[in-house]
């Protein structure tokens, strides 16, 4: 547990605390599985409520299946969201690391937890997910890190999303206590039919109640039980109860209103129908006020226990959401589409709705990548460790990591380091950007404004690429200009394994629109994008491609199968969900299906994309 490097005399003071851990491999991160989940919950709850921020980090079974599915610099927020949505709906979260932390001067006090998840169908209802996709390369990489798949699958914690939980509740048909919201809805004007209905039910209830209470007096047991059968009495637990069938929500209200007259001894319960709505109202007879309270408490505990069992890991998400603490993430668009789709509800069809819906649960999400932007250009931002190293070289902002957690001993492998690195990076960035913890503590308003500046911006433009960067891409990413979607044309139908340089050469002499400055970049093997420097040229080019007048070398290329389409076709590809493995195929299919539909249906809303690592502030949209 001793740090590998020797501290210099100057820095030695910062190592006075024993718990300080600088070597990531020694960070004690508590590993949580099904076995120790329940016992850890209260501890986690305390840490969450006493923290300033909560860092989150996910380990998924994959991200993108084809090169063009990756969010890239030519994506608008909308297409970026659609790509993230596609991934979030198919892949699965296997590890969810959270780390509530406090910032104190140059110290980060962190309580990291790493949850192992597996979407087990505990209720046999095809939930939380019927199936999920795994990418081999992701699993292999996890295996290399020593990930234990058996623990994950045998012992992972299951969960249900909020939306799934409400469906499940209805399907299980558990009686629900009437809360005041449903009860006190405006008393309706009574029609004759209503009055008849109420009176009939009232007399039934009265008879049944009398029959039950009569049993104290010595009537014959047989008569009592017969009477009970005739009057439709049943048992609810140890108490007698009676079911009143209803046909509409209005009748539910009427019955509840009527039962208020008996509120001294009767407790009304609502029995939900399987297809939604209400099937019946059940009145439970209690013997006294104490007994009534007891019943209500019993119902509450029953519901609480059952919900807990059903929710599983979502309990933690609910705790985070209830705390309303700011969340810190790295690559937040990706992580929060996953979180939304697995733990809240199915992802909405567009970015705006997503942001609105997400905000209801998590009011503040801070992406460290966005903080980084204020510092200056950092090229490779997908790798947290590299970013930390980069900052270390450029700024003097020592951050001390204090992790008071006791990791479970005899734990073979410790996973979830990323979440602690995010805390560390965030601490560094705060110190560099002078979002000092003192300021945070002195005034809540200041904190709010300082954090609000950075919150809810879903960084959607990862700058690095896994291929060896060739000159075109470098030239491209260094380019800081914004490019209007209008000036972008997608080209495909050329021979495979062509390079952007060769394609550019071929285009240069083919038509006069290419006399002006333009740029070419490969999206994947099958498709390239061309960016025209001068506005209007893209339309000229598209028109030329579609007219018979096409001539010269360009005609040759068109005859060989070259095709072109504007940015709106690409947007349509993303929104229609044609995620073919080659972009060219997807574009072809979209064009084919679009020919029979009206043109006007689609408009280019976000008309600007960014060619550099610029950011798009979605809060402003």
């Amino acid at each position: 547990m001793v740090p590998k490097f020797k501290p210099s005399p100057l820095r030695i003071r910062s190592f006075c605390t024993k718990t300080v851990q600088q070597n990531p491999h020694h960070w004690p991160i508590k590993q949580i599985t099904k076995t120790n989940f329940n016992e850890s919950l209260s501890e986690i709850k305390n840490h969450i409520s006493s923290s300033d921020f909560i860092a989150v980090s996910l380990q998924n079974t994959g991200s993108f299946s084809s090169p063009w599915h990756r969010v890239s610099t030519f994506d608008t927020p909308e297409t970026a969201y659609l790509k993230a949505k596609f991934a979030a709906e198919r892949f699965q979260i296997l590890q969810f690391a959270i780390c509530p932390f406090k910032l104190q001067a140059s110290k980060v006090i962190a309580y990291p937890y790493n949850f192992h998840l597996f979407p087990r169908d505990e209720l046999k209802m095809g939930m939380p997910s019927y199936s999920f996709t795994c990418q081999t390369s992701y699993l292999t990489a996890m295996a290399k890190e020593g990930f234990d798949f058996n623990t994950c699958i045998y012992d992972g914690i299951s969960y249900l999303s909020e939306a799934q939980e409400s469906t499940v509740k209805v399907r299980m048909g558990n009686p629900m206590a009437v809360d005041h919201a449903t009860k006190s809805s405006s008393s309706p004007a009574l029609s004759v039919a209503d009055t008849v209905f109420i009176e009939r039910v009232r007399s039934r209830v009265k008879h049944w109640k009398n029959a039950c209470t009569d049993s104290d007096i010595k009537t014959e047991a047989l008569v009592t039980s017969l009477r009970k059968i005739v009057l439709g009495g049943e048992q609810f637990g140890s108490r007698p109860s009676m079911t009143i069938d209803v046909c509409s929500e209005r009748q539910v209200q009427l019955v509840l209103k009527m039962l208020e007259d008996f509120s001294d001894v009767l407790v009304p319960l609502i029995i939900p129908a399987k297809g939604g709505g209400t099937q019946a109202v059940r009145a439970v007879l209690t013997s006294s006020d104490e007994d009534k309270d007891l019943l209500k408490r019993e119902l509450q505990t029953f519901e609480f226990e059952q919900n807990k069992r059903v929710r599983g890991f979502r309990e933690v998400i609910d705790l985070i959401s209830a705390s309303q603490k700011p969340l810190v993430a790295h690559n937040s668009l990706n992580d929060f589409t996953f979180i939304h789709s697995k733990f809240l509800a199915p992802l909405p069809p567009n970015m705006n709705e997503f942001i609105c819906s997400l905000r209801l649960a998590f009011p503040q999400v801070i992406d460290v990548n966005y903080l980084l932007k204020d510092i200056g250009p950092v090229k490779k931002m997908t790798n947290i460790s590299a970013t930390i190293a980069y900052l270390k070289n450029r700024f003097f902002a020592p951050i001390e990591m204090e992790i008071p957690n006791q990791a479970n001993e005899n734990e073979g492998k410790i996973h979830g380091h990323n979440v602690v690195k995010i805390c560390q990076l965030f601490g560094k960035l705060c110190s560099i950007l002078k979002i000092t913890p003192d300021a945070i503590e002195s005034s809540d308003d200041f904190l709010a404004s300082a954090i609000n500046r950075y919150a809810n911006i879903f960084y959607s433009l990862p700058g690095s690429s896994q291929e060896p960067t060739n000159e075109e891409i470098r030239g491209w990413t260094n380019d800081k200009r914004k490019v209007s979607c209008e000036d972008v044309v997608f080209l495909w139908g050329f021979r495979e394994r062509i390079s952007a340089g060769i394609l550019k050469n071929m285009l240069q002499g083919s038509h006069e629109v290419f006399a002006e400055a333009f740029n070419v970049r490969m999206v994947d093997r099958s498709c390239a994008i061309v960016v025209f420097g001068k506005p209007g040229l893209s339309n000229t080019f598209k028109n030329v491609m579609n007219s018979k007048a096409v001539s010269g070398p360009l005609r040759e290329m068109v005859s060989d199968g070259l095709k072109a389409a504007g940015y709106e076709t690409y947007q349509r590809v993303c929104s229609s969900g044609l995620w073919e493995s080659a972009l060219a195929d997807a574009l072809d299919k979209t064009l084919a299906s679009h020919n029979c539909l009206s043109e006007a249906a689609y408009e280019t809303k976000q008309s600007e994309i960014y060619l550099s690592n610029e950011l798009i502030n979605l809060a402003e949209l």
Partner: protein
Amino acid sequence: MKKRWPITILYRAFSSSTTSTTASFPLKHVKKSNFDSALSSLRHHIQAADFVAIDLEMTGITSAPWRDSFEFDRFDVRYLKVKDSAEKFAVIQFGVSPFRWDPLKQSFITHPHNFFIFQRQELPLDGAAYEFLCQTTSMDFLAKYQFDFNACIHEGVSYLSREQEDKALKHVNSTYKDESLDSWHSLKEIRDTHLFNIPDILFAERMKDRLSEWLGGLLRNRDEGSEVQPSFNDSKQQFETIFFKMRPAISLNGFTSHQLRLIQLVVRKHFKDLAYLRVSGENSCSQNVIVYIESESVKKMLMKEVKDEQKIDAEMSIKASIGFRHVIDLLSSEKKLIVGHNCFLDIAHIYSKFFGPLPLTAEEFISSVNKYFPHIIDTKILLNSNSILQQRMKKSSTSLSKAFSVLCPQIALGSKSTHLSLQPSVKVEVEVDDIRSSNWNSGVKHEAGYDAFMTGCVFAQACSHLGIDFKQQSSSENLAHNEKLREHVNLLYLSWTNGEIINLSTGNRTSESLASNKRKNHYPKILFECIVIVWGFPSHLKAWDIRECISKVYGPTSVISVYHVDETAVFVQFSRAEMVSKFLDLKESLDRNNDPISVLHPLAKLLEGGNTCAASYETYKEICSSTVSKVLFADQAKAVGIKWKTKLVESSDKTKEHESLRKVKAVNSDPSCGERTKNKNFDDVSNDSSYSQLSSDEIIDSFYTREAKQI
């Protein structure tokens, strides 16, 4: 079908309780580390074998509930469902158990192998990433049987299909064939870049100086005939003088890729007698060297030499990635009799994983399979179609473990109880790593190696019941040609659910004869031209409501059955084919006219909400052929891109109508038949969506996914 599971469970519970304390079944587990040695010994065993039993474990069976196997699957739809399953899910365990008759011991010798397989992306192929689907219930099921996922993912044997291998080889050929596309091409691009900034220019100058210094020293030394001075190697070891192909060279270490590019540029620009090469080093990491060359021709020779070497390396690594496919190639080339249990899906998996993409139609698939594996026997068909064996099975379930325990009790319980069995039983001995044993404990069910072993034992015993005398059988004669087996060879269940059997050698389809059929629910013969699929209707409508709704329009006998595909879609089978187009026409016009008359129409209940869609059976097939798999059928239809609400069909010609009329009359002879069917379906659906919370149902459901394939 479902009702038989508890029996299976009981058996399983019984067998495990008797043997849980003792050592495991002798099984050869094969992983990455011991694959090569296991393969070479397996080669001999397979060559000597009379037949080879196989079994596969997958990560799932159906990618969506509506893709499950139904009675309403026409054979082409059934194939599409199997194809979808084989394409989406991964095989993670492969059991191979070659059986050989040992005339001396008068028993079979088998070598059960249990391969963990996991396809890794080992070659730098472009395009889509390898991915596969996991069905959560299947994973959970495997976990219940203690499947070792770590062994699979960490140490599983990888493989390449024949198609992937061809593609990779082609890729290598084109890379190394085309001169212009190689390194020259990338150099050309470098020339385009200019040195932008001062640091780059200074660095390039420094490199130029150092290279000319080295070159100068080299030439001087050569003239003087002395050794290359070692002093050149600087402290950082960035420039290390080495010999590359018997030529003096510099190995570049510790430069960034940007610096390397600059060096490359300097070499191109200023040194005619130096060549910059990137070669693969010893531990597969690439090494950058600058080689001294005398002339352009020498340079070309050197380049060619290097390129040829690289090509060979690349080809070698492709060959090395074939991995587990060697086993499949062996089975195919040896033309051995392959024995599986309800193995149509298994065969489809083998095809898609180790040969190439599955053909679009069942016919093409069958003929290709027959080419690769000329003799396949399915023990499940064997047990169901032969009356002697049916008798032996005592009308019990033909699930693998059940068949094993009924037919081979002496093997199931180890040889301890051999004397207990009165029937003539085939003796089987297991040999693993040259250790023979005839005494063992029951293995873990749903471990591919043990399942393959059980399948083989069932087959051997079945052969003996059929009167095949292994003592008489000469070793040279192929068991598949035995006249007692001939009628069973190459028959596979296309679908166990409706008993449709396909003959791989002829492509003929037959339905299982009713006499031998033990299944309880006989459906009226399904006429696919009488079927309409309806989806997107209000969710509270159940089969009964829909039937009632349509009956109000066309009369009480118009609907034969309504079958839930899932909660969002139903098949409606009409009594006559022409009603399909009538119904679709009516629905279309009701959708179009939103007047009071259409609102009051009896069908309006079905169309409520405005999302109800309807089409003929052909559309169902179309939707099944899509690669997309949404959980709900209504969502799937949307995802496939269906934007219309009704797809009309042209009314079929009269002769066809007459024919179907006649058929329908025969079917309708039992008027209550349709009714019963409907009720059963209705119950089924409520079971499937698990409204009930009975614990027995939970057990049943948990077995559902895996067992479906074997029952």
